[in-house]
């Protein structure tokens, strides 16, 4: 059977990983290539790179980094951040990305999902959503979670999958940064509506949270950033722990 996936996420600005990292033994803790190597050696099942650069120079640095990572690390790479057009898809795929994650770009122009799926295949298009409870409903937020779009998040996901999104990253704004565990209620609600793989994001604070996450059969992967970067949770230890708890895991 398919193994559950553990995915570290690297936010990159102007060629550097942001969010505190605390690795001993790494020459440059904020060097995305070095960090990617470290995670690959730790057994990460996939890497996600978010480009949070605003400037054109920063964007160039980002694609250079991506090319370098893809030249020496041979696990699936997902790239997101600032993806708005098919040209953006093209730019990162040519640098070695396998999947492209789209968030605000799809809110601005929902037709991009179908266009990208048609050109590159469903498996290449990841719909990333920032979701928060508003008046008892799951609401889709834009601009890194700052703006309520008024769109029902579950309807949005169903539509995105219908248009060809091959995977969904669900980031719960309600649990993000709290480190109290993933938003299982929100994830279950999504799993009941779509049949594509679901990547859970937001809320991981310890290994137990991942074990709990994977008791929910609709969830395929757990994504986190700071707990891995700060080494609060080591991916090697986490994977052994999960295997011990009976979760199908690649060691």
């Amino acid at each position: 059977m398919l193994a559950k996936r553990i995915i570290p996420c690297l936010d990159v600005r102007d060629g550097r990983v942001v969010k505190g990292t605390n690795f001993e033994g790494l020459r440059d803790m904020a060097d995305p290539v070095e960090l990617a190597r470290f995670y690959n050696d730790s057994g990460a099942d996939e890497l996600v790179f978010y480009d949070i650069t605003a400037s054109a120079e920063g964007r160039g640095l980002f694609t250079d980094i991506l090319r370098q990572v893809a030249s020496e690390i041979f696990i699936p790479l997902t790239v997101g951040g600032g993806i708005r057009t098919l040209e953006d898809f093209d730019r990162v795929l040519k640098c070695g990305a396998d999947k492209v994650s789209i968030n605000s770009g799809a809110i601005a122009d929902p037709s991009i999902i179908a266009a990208a799926a048609k050109r590159y295949g469903d498996q290449c298009v990841v719909l990333s959503m920032d979701v928060k409870r508003v008046e008892g409903r799951f609401r889709l937020f834009a601009k890194g979670g700052r703006e309520d779009t008024g769109i029902d998040a579950m309807e949005w996901a169903v539509r995105g999958v219908g248009d060809g999104a091959g995977e969904i990253v669900l980031n719960s704004i309600d649990t993000d940064g709290v480190k109290g565990g993933f938003d299982l209620e929100m994830l279950d609600a999504l799993a009941a509506r779509v049949t594509v793989p679901i990547v859970a994001s937001g809320g991981a604070g310890n290994m137990e949270h991942f074990a709990e996450l994977f008791t929910h059969p609709g969830v395929d992967a757990g994504l986190a950033a700071s707990i891995f970067h700060t080494r609060q949770v080591d991916i090697k230890d986490l994977k052994r722990f999960l295997r011990g708890r009976g979760v199908e895991i690649r060691l």
Partner: protein, 203 residues
């Protein structure tokens, strides 16, 4: 030299990089002469069976591939492996290269548990069912990376390895004579995948 067949299907960045990482001389090529000069050939591919077959036909390389497969190792990866079979049933029926007996059908057709997701995407463990030099550096049960919705069946005689997905034993690796195929992506399967490519390079 290892030739990667370029017929306008899919992204060859990782495949080329992984071979370079192993220190192998590699050419991405659409030229018949280059395929003839190569020590071994890799046929990659992503997308749909019929489209890929049509694109391969357009290059005029099919007769060259069939000829070269008689005398040197050929490895098909993902859709490139599917093309090695007699026929595929993705959006209608299309002829394959006929290098390995069998057919390529929709995985969902044979899955009993309809809750299982398609595409079959992610890391799955490869059970070796027939030992082969391709597995020289590979251990039974190691995980490899898959992304596909169609799979090869009716090919038991050539099957080297399978991965379990629900009730289906997904054909993971095949061989007939000089022709090998992997449904998974060795160039995305981490260290295990690199070791498999290294073994192919030594064939």
């Amino acid at each position: 030299m290892t030739a990667i067949v370029d017929y306008g299907v899919g992204n060859l960045f990782s495949l080329r990089s992984s071979l370079r990482c192993l220190g192998l001389e590699t050419e991405v090529t659409g030229e018949a002469e280059c395929l003839r000069a190569a020590d071994r050939i890799i046929l990659p591919g992503v997308g749909a069976f019929g489209d890929a077959r049509a694109k391969l036909d357009e290059t005029g390389l099919v007769p060259v591939l069939l000829e070269e497969a008689e005398r040197k190792p050929l490895l098909g990866i993902c859709l490139g492996m599917q093309l090695l079979f007699d026929r595929g049933f993705e959006y209608g029926e299309h002829p394959g290269l006929g290098l390995i007996p069998g057919e390529v059908a929709f995985l969902g057709e044979d899955l009993a548990d309809k809750a299982l997701k398609i595409p079959h995407m992610g890391w799955n463990s490869l059970e070796i069912v027939k030992d082969d030099p391709l597995f020289k550096y590979f251990q039974d049960g190691e995980y490899v990376y898959y992304v596909h919705s169609f799979y090869a069946r009716s090919c038991r005689e050539s099957t080297l390895g399978v991965s379990r997905y629900g009730n289906v034993a997904v054909t993971g690796a095949v061989r007939r004579g000089n022709v090998w195929g992997t449904q998974f992506h060795p160039e995305k399967s981490g260290d295990a995948g690199l070791r498999l490519l290294r073994a192919f390079a030594e064939l």
